[in-house]
Each structure stands twice: as structure tokens, then as C-alpha cells.
């Protein structure tokens, strides 16, 4: 049975709400429909934004270092998020 893909490190863009048009990385999930998002600036890793997946555009890009750290139980830093977010946005 396949797992839901709120992949940690995946690039998303908010499509609804006051932050519409803002890019984030997925840094965790609350449940099947709500994910935790950070950009390392306005939304820090320790205070992530929580949004419904229906209100996000998911890009086919994953921040490798953030994903790697999360899976291996290491702490994701805001510097990691900022650096990888910048690099992924440049590739869109």
C-alpha cells in the first residue's frame, strides 16, 4: 500500500491564503492532509506553517540535504532550508 507523498524536502508553492505565491520546503506532516512548511526566513523550521495539501502546488523537486537529514534523524537548520530553497527555485 503506497504512502502519501508529503515528502520531506519537497518544494511547494502556496496557492491559497495570505502567503499565496510563496515557496516553501516540506519539513514534516501533521496528518494525511496537512503538512508543515518552512522557508528558513519568515517561517522557521521550529515554527513551521501548517497548510492543507489541497492549497499547495507540489513541484517535482526534493531538497536532497533536507530529506537526508530528516530521514537520518538529524536536525534540519534554517540555513539548510534557505540554501536549498534558493537553489530549487532557480531551477523552476
Amino acid at each position: 500500500m503506497s504512502g502519501n507523498a508529503a515528502q520531506i524536502g519537497r518544494l511547494v508553492c502556496s496557492m491559497q491564503g495570505r502567503d499565496s505565491g510563496r515557496y516553501y520546503l516540506v519539513v514534516g506532516s501533521v496528518n494525511e492532509t496537512r503538512v508543515m512548511l518552512a522557508d528558513g526566513e519568515v517561517r522557521k523550521v521550529d515554527n513551521p506553517k501548517i497548510k492543507n495539501v489541497k492549497h499547495l502546488k507540489f513541484y517535482d523537486m526534493i531538497a536532497g540535504e533536507v530529506f537526508d537529514k530528516a530521514i537520518n534523524g538529524k536536525r534540519i537548520t534554517n540555513v539548510d532550508v534557505r540554501k536549498e530553497l534558493k537553489s530549487l527555485i532557480e531551477q523552476i
Binding site: 503506497s2 504512502g3 507523498a5 530529506f67 537520518n72
Partner: protein, 248 residues
């Protein structure tokens, strides 16, 4: 956290995997025009229990069946129901079992009666995607080497790779870390190590990769209503060749 399994744990997973494979073989004989998918579910549950295992999906997160039965444009998580299989349908059957607290998980897509050449090609390429992915499940490789192998082969044939649902780690729980996407650039993510166990499962669409979830909050269908196929194996990373645990 990705866990590496001991030989004892792998043996339990092999046992669970053998039951999954035998159940698939039983259902393959039963898939015929006119058979309701609920009947396949009943047969599977009966066979799994008779084999000394537990149906892992029954009640998992509230899922109602022992198997996922996804027909035609249904990608994954189809409910077994009174819907009768029709000539030309394709059906993806996903089965999970548990023995001694360890899990195995595997899916196949089967033709019902006479199916179109298009559908046969989709099924063939999806199964090839699975084996391309498995071939990358080697000690020292990176996780996304699996993802990239699947995506490259599927897109080479003009198919859409589902992004919103992914493979996963498996072992003492049916879903463990890491998530195993079927897309992405190679050389990313955690390094694979002997003892890791992954459920690799390409979900490949004939058209767009986009999907939506039906109002039952479970069944995922293609956005363009075109066919989708799904193949899956539970695989152990070893010091040598990858080992498929969900086989006889």
C-alpha cells in the same frame, strides 16, 4: 529513521512475503470477467489467514479491505466492492501480510479478459519500471537512484509517473522511513545500506501524472480518467544483489 534488519527479522519478512506471493497467485486464477472485487478480497483474506499470516491492510488507518483493488483509472487504494470486473478492464491488486510482527507488501496489475494493446504495454512498462528500480536498490547507492531509474524508464515510453504517492520503508511497521518517490534526480537522499528493506512501487499512468482522491478519502484516480498500472515488491538491500522478499 531508516532501520537495518537482522537476519531473524528478514526471515520473518521472507515468510510474510511468501504468503503475499502465494495470495497473488491464488487471486490471479480468480480474476475473471464478472467477478466482484469483494470476492477477490474475501478469497485473499481467507487464504492469508489459512497460511498463518494476518492481512496487514485490513483496518490499517481505517482501510476496509484485506486487499486494495484498483480498476482501470483507479491508481491505488481502490475499495473491494460489488463492482464486477468487465472484459477489457485492468485491475491492480495490492496485498500486505504480517507474520510475527513483520510485514511484506506487493502489488501486481492484471488483465481481465481481452485487454487493449495500449493497456498491455502500460502494464509491461510499469513492471519493467519496478525491476529497473529494484536493480538500483544496492548497498552504496543513493535512494533517489531507485526513483530516477523508475522515472526515466516510464517517461521514455511517454507515460506519467505518479508523484503524490510513493514507495516506503517496511519492516516492523507497514510504512517506515524512507519514502521512496518514483521520480527525482539520481544521487540524492540517504545512502542505501545492507539490511534496509523497501517497498518499491511504481504507479504509472497512461496519460498525465496528475491524480485526485475520490470522496471516500482513499481511492486515487487519474485526473484524465486514463488507465494506471501499479507493481510493487518488498526488497532487501544486501551486500550483493537486491533480494525480493515478496516472492515464493
Amino acid at each position: 529513521m531508516i532501520t537495518c534488519k537482522s537476519e531473524r527479522e528478514l526471515n520473518y519478512m521472507r515468510d510474510a512475503g511468501r504468503v503475499v506471493a502465494l495470495t497473488h497467485a491464488e487471486l490471479k486464477k480468480a480474476v475473471k470477467v464478472g467477478v466482484p472485487t469483494r470476492e477477490l478480497d474475501r478469497l485473499a483474506e481467507e487464504f492469508i489467514i489459512k497460511s498463518g499470516a494476518k492481512p496487514a491492510f485490513k483496518g490499517l488507518y481505517g482501510f476496509p479491505g484485506a486487499i486494495c483493488a484498483s480498476v482501470n483509472e483507479e491508481v491505488v487504494h481502490g475499495f473491494p466492492s460489488l463492482r464486477k470486473l468487465e472484459n477489457g478492464d485492468i485491475i491492480s491488486i495490492d496485498i500486505g501480510t504480517e507474520i510475527n510482527g513483520y510485514f511484506s507488501d506487493s502489488a501486481v496489475t492484471l488483465p481481465v479478459g481481452d485487454v487493449s494493446r495500449e493497456a498491455l504495454d502500460l502494464m509491461k512498462v510499469t513492471e519493467e519500471c519496478l525491476y529497473k528500480g529494484i536493480d538500483q536498490a544496492r548497498d552504496g547507492n543513493r535512494l533517489s537512484d531507485i526513483s530516477n531509474a523508475v522515472q526515466t524508464w516510464a517517461e521514455k515510453h511517454g507515460y506519467g509517473v505518479v508523484r503524490d504517492y510513493v514507495g516506503h520503508g517496511i519492516g516492523a511497521k507497514p510504512h517506515e522511513d524512507p519514502q521512496v518517490p518514483n521520480f527525482g534526480r539520481p544521487g540524492r537522499g540517504p545512502r542505501l545500506k545492507a539490511g534496509m528493506t523497501l517497498a518499491i512501487e511504481p504507479m504509472i499512468n497512461m496519460g498525465t501524472h496528475e491524480v485526485k482522491t475520490l470522496s471516500n478519502d482513499w481511492t486515487v484516480v487519474t485526473l484524465d480518467k486514463r488507465l494506471s498500472a501499479h507493481f510493487e515488491h518488498t526488497v532487501a538491500i544486501t551486500d550483493d544483489e537486491p533480494e525480493i522478499l515478496s516472492k515464493t
